[in-house]
């Protein structure tokens, strides 16, 4: 481990970066810093600029304005050592269907100067050992996606860029992938993952960056974003007897399904409401509290972004 005195290492530093394609502004004035061991999710619609940001970090395209530092180098300079330590899984990863999985992974391993033993190990990690000697053309989409993950893991990357990694994966494999991402981050790898499945990120991403039309709308942990959004909390209470419903509940609540009442309150007023409900001894059977879902949070920030 690094000594405690050293400041956290910034693996990615993006300052006021813009990228224009003709008249189209794919990325507008984006600033973002990510530290080693952080798992950051880039969330946004298609065309929000997630893939463009990744291409900029890989040095495949040059920014129209601003500057980028990745692993201490300008990615556009294509420094071979910095590049060796970046793992990348493109959206809709493709391989030549005429080659076998082992041949493909061995090719990428040779480009990163990794030994054959790593190829066999990584094929095992993603559970492709048995299929490795069949042509990739005969594989399912999920298997190709797993081969894509295997090649991204070559050479133990310090920075992992995953562009929509869960597309085509079944729920069990998604769980595996999220576990893998957590393990990588724990071992000091910076993980940047783009997705539009925000609801799956709870417990996975340390930080969420919401992008819309090339701009950063929000940047923070899920807890911070919830506080920032101040979305109302829904409380559903169940009364024992309809006739015995307290007067305040009749007044403020919305009756639902006979014995239920729905209440909406701001995050600050939540505890006061819960105390009031609990105080009505005997009259109320049950209390359900629903925090805003991640999708609601996402919708909120998008709405706020388009209103500005």
């Amino acid at each position: 481990m690094t000594s405690d005195t050293s400041a956290p290492v910034r693996t990615v530093e993006i300052a006021n970066v813009a990228k224009r394609y003709g008249a189209v502004e794919a990325v507008r004035d984006v600033s973002l810093a990510v530290q080693a061991g952080e798992c950051v999710a880039l969330v946004g619609h298609n065309g929000a600029g997630k893939t463009t940001l990744m291409k900029l970090m890989l040095g495949l395209i040059r920014p129209s304005a601003g500057r980028i530092h990745v692993l201490g180098a300008d990615p556009a300079e294509r420094d071979a050592e910095a590049r060796r330590r970046i793992g990348f899984l493109p959206e809709n990863v493709a391989f030549n269907p005429a080659l076998t999985g082992r041949e493909i992974l061995r090719f990428y391993a040779r480009l990163k100067g990794e030994p054959k033993s790593e190829v066999a190990r990584l094929l095992g990690v993603v559970g492709l050992s048995d299929a490795a000697d069949r042509r990739v053309g005969t594989w399912s989409k999920g298997m190709r996606q797993r081969l894509g993950i295997a090649q991204a893991l070559l050479a133990r990357p310090a920075l992992m860029l995953l562009d929509e990694p869960t597309s085509g994966l079944d729920p069990a494999l998604r769980g595996n992938l999220y576990g893998l991402m957590r393990n990588l981050a724990r071992d000091g790898t910076t993980v940047l993952v783009s997705t539009h499945a925000l609801s799956e990120l709870e417990g996975v991403a340390d930080r969420v960056v919401i992008l819309d039309r090339g701009k950063v709308l929000a940047n923070g942990s899920l807890g911070e974003l919830r506080q920032l959004a101040r979305l109302p909390i829904r409380v559903r209470v169940k009364v024992a007897e309809r006739a015995a419903t307290p007067a305040w509940l009749r007044e403020e609540g919305l009756p639902f399904n006979g014995h239920h009442y729905d209440l909406v309150c701001s995050p600050d007023a939540k505890m006061a409401l819960l105390r009031r409900a609990a105080a009505n001894d005997g009259a109320i059977d049950d209390i359900e509290v629903a925090a805003p879902t991640l999708d609601e949070l996402y919708a909120h920030f998008l709405e706020r972004g388009s209103a500005r």
Binding site: K55, L60, R83, F88, N96, E103, F107, L111
Partner: protein, 276 residues
């Protein structure tokens, strides 16, 4: 260098898997053998010059086929990977774009080398088996023919990369490649002939003609093989031209090599500028 060889090796494996190697070798071999066996019928009584006749027929065949094969395997080398989505991942690796172009070139040259050596070599073997007495000079001419065939193929592989680096889609690259084949193999010589006939020798001297011929790799190849060796030029009916064309083998070889290096450099520059 390691990356270059890795890319060349992958290109070769893919060509073997996609049956390109087998198809090109069989095509060249079958035509070479049939030309040899049928072609020796009229000269069977002469015997001595059997291989020279083979050289004349094979190089005439090579002018048509080698550029076609080379363009077919090279036109989608870059745009094909861009379109399939494999280029994005490859460029994320520690390889330069120049290494990608050169690696692919190396791999495709090995494919062409296998096809010409085995395909045309079969003709040489067949001549030996017919029991013809072949002198040393003819073998030299035969070796030079195979070597220059490889250079001709290389020139068109490099030209194919230029279209591949420029084209927006594989279909566009294929269309341009076919047009280039027509231009270099058919149209160029026809146009030249037309101009010469119209000119009646008034303005265009042999010096200008020589220079113009160097601007087409297929003409450089033709001159190299049909006039380079005395016996061969006799059979090719090019003895007259061979006498008047003062271009030495060295100049013609340099022209062919230039036709590899310049398009290859251009393709690299075009590919380097391309944004993905």
């Amino acid at each position: 260098m390691r990356s270059l060889l890795a890319i060349a090796g992958k290109e070769l494996t893919e060509a073997v898997r996609n049956r390109w190697v087998v198809a090109a070798t069989l095509l060249l071999g079958a035509l070479a053998l049939s030309l040899t066996l049928l072609g020796s019928t009229p000269t069977g009584t002469v015997g001595v010059n059997a291989l020279d006749v083979v050289i004349v027929s094979l190089s005439s065949l090579g002018i048509l086929l080698l550029p076609l094969i080379a363009l077919l395997i090279s036109h989608d080398a870059l745009v094909g990977e861009v379109e399939r989505g494999t280029m994005l991942l490859l460029l994320a690796y520690p390889v330069t774009r120049r290494q990608i172009v050169l690696g692919k070139f190396l791999g495709h040259m090995v494919v062409l080398a296998i096809a010409t050596l085995v395909g045309f070599g079969a003709a040489g073997v067949a001549v030996v088996f017919t029991g013809a007495d072949v002198d040393r000079q003819s073998w030299e001419a035969f070796g030079a023919m195979i070597g220059s065939s490889l250079l001709l193929g290389g020139a068109f592989v490099a030209i194919g990369y230029c279209t591949s680096a420029l084209a927006r889609s594989r279909a566009a690259a294929a269309a341009v490649a076919i047009c280039l084949w027509l231009l270099f193999v058919v149209v160029y010589d026809l146009a030249l002939l037309g101009v010469l006939v119209a000119d009646q020798g008034a303005h265009i001297g042999s010096g200008v003609l020589e220079t113009v011929l160097l601007f087409n790799p297929t003409d450089a190849y033709r001159l190299l093989n049909l006039t380079g060796f005395a016996n061969v030029s006799l059979f090719s009916g090019m003895a007259g031209l061979g006498g008047t064309v003062a271009l030495g083998s060295g100049v013609l070889l340099a022209a062919l090599v230039g036709w590899i290096l310049l398009p290859l450099g251009l393709a690299t520059a075009l590919f380097a500028r391309r944004e993905l």
